[in-house]
Amino acid sequence: MIEVQGVSKRFGEVQVITDITATFQKGLVNQIIGKSGSGKSVLAKCIVGLYKPDEGRVLYDGRSFHELQLEEKRVIRQEIGMLFQSSALFDSMSVLDNVMFPLKMFARMSMAEMTDRARSCLERVNIVDKDKLFPSELSGGMQKRVGIARAIAMNPKYLFCDEPNSGLDPQTSILIDELILELTQEFNTTTIVITHDMNSVMGTGQNILFLHDGRNWWHGSREELLMSENQELNDFIFASDLMRQARKHMGN
């Protein structure tokens, strides 16, 4: 479980997020949603430790991340898997080497064991026979899958996905969402997905935090989301005609 307690962050004169408190449950796909510029990514970067919050704290199963020593932080970081919006695969490494990288860095395994582990992670995300290819030779969807394989290579306790569907076609987006949901249940991870894709929210969101103007505007389940009377939340969710139709249908 990850708890965010009163986290605020400002860059110069700009207050990006203000006093955010939320709990992200273990074994669930927790989603942070909101418009572009609402502070989703900054909150995520505060949670994973790329930014230090100006106020507040982030607890990983009770361990206050930003108050830990560097070595203790590294231990938590090895328990984190992250899928980036751009996949962030290392261009100079093959697919297999990308997935093996965290193992080579931290795992006490023989080369054969590492290769087996990396291959099994790739198989888990349905990437086969692409070991020797380089990231530039893969499609966007495949890059995301390899990113997920790398994220799960160390059996993470916490899985972060930053806009996993951006730049993907609807079908591939659904596959990626389903994969994230399956892995969350399989490994019992605390998963946090940052998204503004409503298909993803409706498909896999189990515990949803809506940010507006850098504040925790709404927090609840997918079912509660559809029935919410919160004006800003409704403006965000029902911005598309498709969602308005869906709500109409549900109302009927």
Binding site: V48, G49, L50, K73, R74, V75, I76, R77, Q78, I80, M82, F84, Q85, S86, A88, L89, F90, D91, F101, P102, K104, M105, F106, F160
Partner: protein
């Protein structure tokens, strides 16, 4: 104040770079790869520049010595001293600042804007150490070899000019090369080279590591890296000369 901010951040980065590596064997492997990338792959340009540099120094020295009382072997002596003391260590390092420095800044800057450095940090890898330390060590190891090769090739270039044009006879040139040789000049040149190698890689890596934005900013970091590493080389050159030769 801006410059003080950069100097402070540069030394903070160096602190991270020289902190304990997670897996020494991976760092060693990366250092070997960097020796190839930064050193061996620069050999062609270094060789080409050195031969022509030596040739030009020889012709210019010969054409500027008009007085009959100055012996012709002075051309060889001047060429040797110029090459060993200044041209090979400093000019070749400036060229390497352009070639290697821009490539380091562009490589690390691209990794930054493509979130690959964030990925390393989140995994718990000391990204600064993993990316920069092998480059610094590789350059400090391989650049002295490049500079020694450059010295030989420059002097060879001068000899070729003597043979080809007769501006000075090859025998006079060779006796000039041997005249009043002080081995400390080579030591001085190699000390400079190692310091310059550190400056090129660390300054370029600094600019790449703190790149923000996209492709345009990567290009800008690359250019700034070359400018600043060249300035650092020139300042270090003056200081080392003052300390070691005066």
């Amino acid at each position: 104040m801006d410059i003080l901010f950069h100097i402070g951040r540069y030394f903070q980065l160096l602190g991270q770079v020289f902190s304990r590596p997670e897996r020494l064997s991976l760092y060693a492997k990366r250092t070997v790869e960097e020796v190839d990338l930064l050193g061996v792959k620069s050999l062609g340009i270094v060789a080409l520049l050195s031969v022509f540099m030596g040739a030009v120094i020889t012709i210019q020295t010969a054409s500027n010595i008009d007085a009959a009382w100055i012996p012709r072997y002075v051309v060889g002596f001047t060429a040797r001293q110029s090459v060993i003391l200044e041209f090979s260590p400093t000019i070749i390092s400036l060229i390497l600042a352009g070639k290697v420095g821009s490539s380091i800044a562009a490589e690390i800057g691209t990794m930054r804007v493509k979130e690959q450095i964030d990925a390393l940090d989140i995994m718990g890898v000391n990204s600064a150490g993993y990316l920069i330390l092998p480059k610094i060590i590789a350059a400090m190891l391989i650049n002295p070899f490049l500079i020694v090769i450059s010295m030989f090739l420059s002097i060879f270039g001068g000899w070729v000019v003597c043979v080809a044009t007769g501006v000075v006879s090859p025998n006079e040139y060779i006796s000039g090369l041997q005249w009043d040789f002080d081995p400390f000049t080579v030591t001085y040149a190699l000390i400079k080279t190692v310091v310059f190698a550190f400056a090129i890689t660390s300054v370029a890596a600094y600019h790449g590591y703190f790149t923000q934005g996209g492709a345009l900013e990567v290009g800008r970091s690359s250019t700034t890296a070359v400018v600043f590493s060249s300035i650092v080389i020139l300042i270090a050159n003056y200081m080392l000369t003052q300390i070691l030769l005066v």
